[in-house]
Subunit: 447 residues, 2 copies
């Protein structure tokens, strides 16, 4: 059978664009591979419908950065590519011995951030910092998309719990893991993804599919059979045939704790279901809704008073459907101590290592950010912290529960006018005078 | 450090929704786990902007289905979940010994298909077939999205080669592998994803990033340095500072084969670049364009006569941005020889095992499909073929080159009126009279 496509976490060096490898060889050939370089990762512009983003995926990205390397087979493959035939043998040996030995600064996972703000800074020998580009982008952008979408749902749902039901709709099986973690850290209550729940030690959620109902001679028998096996956690899926008839069936099951609505017009169905359950003396039973839900549908259901107690969010969450990609980039900002910029239309960058400062108002809410040169100080809290020094983690990374607590606090500290679901006012982000002057200075001597 | 989120291909059983596991235990408790069941996988409706889809991801899905299993740690985890405390010990032993022993029929990878058509059918003991649901959906839907988007690009670009540049924009690092394969099988010429190219034995494509240019004192030195190391494959990225000045610099590099434009208004820039190159006597140099390209932008560039020789497609391809999810479902259609259906609004299904027949016109083009019961015969070619029998592959699966050849032939056999980039007429798909009658018969006795 041909190639297996599961990534090998012990040989992630080639999980990248070819040009990173050609540039590494090219830097070596030009005696530049070990020049000190600074790269910064940021999102150019927020997607439409986003007035903030939540930084996520850092833990896995750092773990993988520290083990980034190449197997013998991978090095042999590169050596065999026609383009590399003029590259000296010694370089391939270096590639086999590759290890990341640089420094990394980053915003803590769960930090709310805005367009143009440095999220992560790599200071490392040029070839090492270069290799990290594709890997860091593919590791950080997606969890950030999901965490951002998830926090929007959480802020909309208020006290009603949300569950990640996305596993089957992810862009490949790995996405399910990443989505479970990113949504949990942004306040979701649990996930249906069992292996993610197991590894992350977070709640695993789930009961039955339509196939369970269909496998029995009729719906009532299916409900009864389920309740016998799982008397403590009986949520009954009621929409396989006739939804309200399903609710009546569910109301007869003593062990039932909840019903799940997964199709149809959820608001009216929830109202009718609530009435049926209450009239059957089952006021204690709750109603879970799912089925193509997103933050706007949740908002509308709540606004119309639909008696829904919890929401399952799947496709819209795991694909971040309304914004499935970020303009996240990783740009060289200095080499050998000299600032570097890019002047391409719409893609201007600022030179040099940076820090991001967040001012808080008198009640602890975000009042504006300033991006400065790393050597400057400014009002507020410096958001970038060193997480890797000379190829080793600086202290322990926070655990997932701590990240979740921090993310939810970030959500509360965001002023109300930036919490709207549709594009709202832009949060104020300014650049220091030193950065603006440096950009002009470097720009005049570049090209 | 906390949990590592790379999937373990040897223990994929829990890479699923929790309810698959609860249902497996429930079926066992009700002496139904071994009842013969038939599940079918299909896409309910084509996404907007799609008049066809390309089935992809089958090879990896079958490989993984045959090794689907549970580690000791995973079984212990399930045993420890509160919901499972009434489940007898013997069942956990069975879970540890899980192996897929059923039969699978599927359309060949690369087949063009339409809404409502069975793509894959699992006939297996009920519990086994149930477990496969989440896994099959998360393995097949995403490659199908990418292959479909890719074939649209290929049909638009005609003879101009297309390259997958998506790696950094995927939903996690695994997506890059899946995208590279799915786009290649639909006719892309290669990928920038090195590890995917290595494993799949397909062309790896790439040259330099803006950081290469920025790392040197000026653009011309950067170009010269690159050409010295890679004289045989010198494509120069010209838009780091002033694009047309970059083209002039590139024209002075004897080893340069091509330039790459990655920003700005690509049509006029390509025209101006072509003029500069030609006037410099470099008519042999080609122009590669990239930067947020999709099938519509490629169409418009070609329509306006932009002299672009090849396209790199990244974000739009790997996220299938205009359609990032499919309504792909996996539904129980029979158990114990009895047809099963679902009646939920907008989610009606037909009972029983099915076949899909494709009629061809006199010149070999698709003339209409009919879905029938599996025991029926109809005009045309039966698209579902048995690929697994009693838990073993039936013969060898086709290699990637064969799949690619088949997919491109499928694309040529699709009538022109279904090739439009925007929603066009619906391709004719009918259901046999036997299926319609059976649906009514089962419907009358269901609920």
């Amino acid at each position: 059978m041909p190639a297996d496509l599961w990534p090998d976490p012990t040989a992630l060096g080639l999980v990248t664009d070819l040009y990173q490898i050609t540039m590494m060889a090219g830097y070596a050939a030009n005696a530049m591979a070990d020049k000190p370089a600074v790269f910064e990762l940021f999102v150019r512009r927020l997607p439409k419908n986003r007035s903030y983003l939540v930084f996520a995926g850092l833990e896995q990205a750092l773990r993988d950065l520290l083990r980034l390397g190449f197997s013998d087979e991978q090095v042999s493959y590169i050596r065999g590519l026609p383009a590399f035939r003029h590259v000296p043998d010694a370089w391939f040996k270096q590639l086999r011995d590759f290890q990341f030995t640089g420094d990394v600064w980053a915003m803590p996972e769960g930090t709310i951030f805005f367009g143009g703000e440095t999220l992560l800074r790599v200071e490392a020998p040029l070839a090492q910092a270069q290799l990290a580009e594709t890997f860091l982008l593919s590791s950080l952008a997606y969890p950030t998309l999901v965490a951002s979408k998830a926090l929007r749902c959480v802020q909309t749902a208020g006290s009603r719990p949300l569950f990640d039901f996305g596993a089957r709709r992810g862009h490949g099986p790995q996405a399910g893991f990443l989505c479970a973690r990113a949504s949990y850290l942004a306040g979701f209550a649990g996930t249906s993804h069992v292996e993610a729940a197991r590894r992350l030690e977070i709640p695993a959620i789930g009961t039955m599919a339509h196939s369970w109902i269909q496998a029995f001679p009729n719906e009532l028998e299916a409900f009864e059979a389920y309740a016998r096996v799982f008397p403590d956690s009986t949520t009954l899926l009621v929409d396989t045939y006739d939804t309200l008839q399903g609710v009546r069936h569910a109301a007869t099951i003593p062990q039932a704790h909840a019903i799940r609505l997964d199709s149809g017009d959820l608001g009216p169905l929830a109202q009718a279901s609530r009435t049926i359950l209450d009239e059957a003396g089952r006021s204690e039973m709750t109603i879970v809704a799912s089925g193509d839900l997103d933050e706007w549908k949740i908002r509308d259901l709540i606004a119309t008073g639909a008696p829904i107690d919890a929401f399952g969010v799947g496709t819209e969450l795991i694909t971040s459907r309304d914004a499935p990609a970020l303009s996240m980039v990783y740009k060289l900002v200095a080499v050998d101590g000299q600032g570097r910029i890019k002047l391409a239309p719409g893609k201007k960058t600022y030179p040099g290592a940076k820090q991001v400062w967040r001012r808080l108002d008198s009640v602890g809410r975000f009042a504006g950010d300033q991006v400065t040169a790393a050597y400057e100080t400014a009002d507020g809290i410096p958001l970038l912290q060193q997480v890797i020094a000379q190829g080793h983690l600086v202290g322990d990374l926070p655990d997932l529960q701590s990240i979740r607590t921090y993310t939810l606090a970030q959500g509360r500290a965001l002023p109300e006018n930036f919490k709207g679901l549709d594009a709202g006012p832009a949060y104020p982000v300014s650049y220091s005078q030193a950065l603006e002057e440096e950009a002009i200075r470097v720009g005049l001597t570049t090209g």
